[in-house]
Amino acid sequence: MSLSVLICDDSNMARKQVLRILPESLSENVQLATNGVEALEILNNQAIDMLFLDLTMPVVDGIGVLQGIKEAGITVKVFVISADIQPEMQNKVLELGAKAFLRKPVQLDVLNSHLKEHGII
């Protein structure tokens, strides 16, 4: 079964970094967004199973996206992938409903163990 996936990051390289380590079941139906506004637009109009979300972005940042998801009552599993790894920030995103916090640059084994933990693969 292939899941619908959205990768939201302002960096092209960071999006590619995630894309190339996604397991097969997640890599068939992937959309990309370069900021929070684009991500919320897609999330409001389509059913997305899995969102990989960066935090530090222009226009609307990752925190804004998490708040938007909560307000609109959208069901989507969110993995935050961020360079800002201070404990205070990690707690904040988990409180806002993210399933996991992964540090950049994201590693294949780390991603897989989190995906397994949440029953996605």
Partner: protein, 210 residues
């Protein structure tokens, strides 16, 4: 002017490496200083030596500037300038965990500068499989001792009085905001053109992997 412009992919890659370095450095700092460090998207741009003083002048009125040189393998080198705003120095000793009478304001500023520069560049270097060395940080000027009327133009004056042996430099500006202490400081990395070429080739090697 030499052609040392970064293309979109190179710029994006450098930006991402800097983001990650910033993130890890801030985390280390936050733990060491026991406070939260707020991160903004860093800016990367090219400056000509003629325009450097103008650009720095627009960086508001700094009261103190500390310079520290850095150098790594593969010809990667540059100079970091740490610029402090007025009022910020009041609570520095507190932030650094020293007793205020243990050290002068100048020493506090130099100490923090060195911490900010080296933590960031150490992570930056490790991402590109490099290793940095540093010169001792130096206070270029501080308006604490002088009369305050002349402080505003001091950094640009200081830079204007030097004849540069480079034409173009890459300027990376990172703003640190320490929330508990409402303290701000800008770190400006200046990488001369010969080193930009070396950085570009490192970036291209990383991009080839994608």
């Amino acid at each position: 002017m030499n052609n040392v412009n970064l293309n979109d992919d190179q710029q994006d890659c450098l930006q991402e490496i800097i983001n990650v370095a910033m993130g890890q450095a801030s985390d280390q700092l936050a733990r060491y200083l026991d406070t939260f460090v707020y991160l903004k998207v860093p800016s990367i741009e090219q400056v000509s030596s003629q325009h450097l003083s103008d650009t720095l002048k627009s960086e508001a009125q700094s009261v103190a500037v500390v310079s520290q040189g850095f150098f790594g393998y593969e010809g990667i080198r540059g100079e970091a300038l740490l610029m402090y705003q007025p009022k910020d120095s009041d609570r520095l000793a507190d932030l650094l965990g020293y007793e205020p009478d243990e050290l002068s304001v100048e020493e506090q500023i130099i100490d923090l500068s060195s911490i900010l520069t080296t933590t960031f560049l150490n992570v930056f270097a490790s991402q590109i499989d490099n290793q940095m060395s540093y010169s001792a940080p130096r206070l270029l000027f501080s308006s604490n001792a002088d009369n305050n009327t002349s402080s505003q133009s001091s950094i640009s004056e200081h830079i204007q009085h030097n004849a540069f042996n480079w034409e173009v430099a890459l300027k990376v500006k990172i703003s640190y905001q320490v929330t508990d202490y409402s303290f701000n400081c800008d770190m400006i990395l200046l990488i001369p053109e010969s080193a930009i070429i070396n950085i570009t080739s490192v970036i291209d090697r990383i991009l080839e992997d994608y």
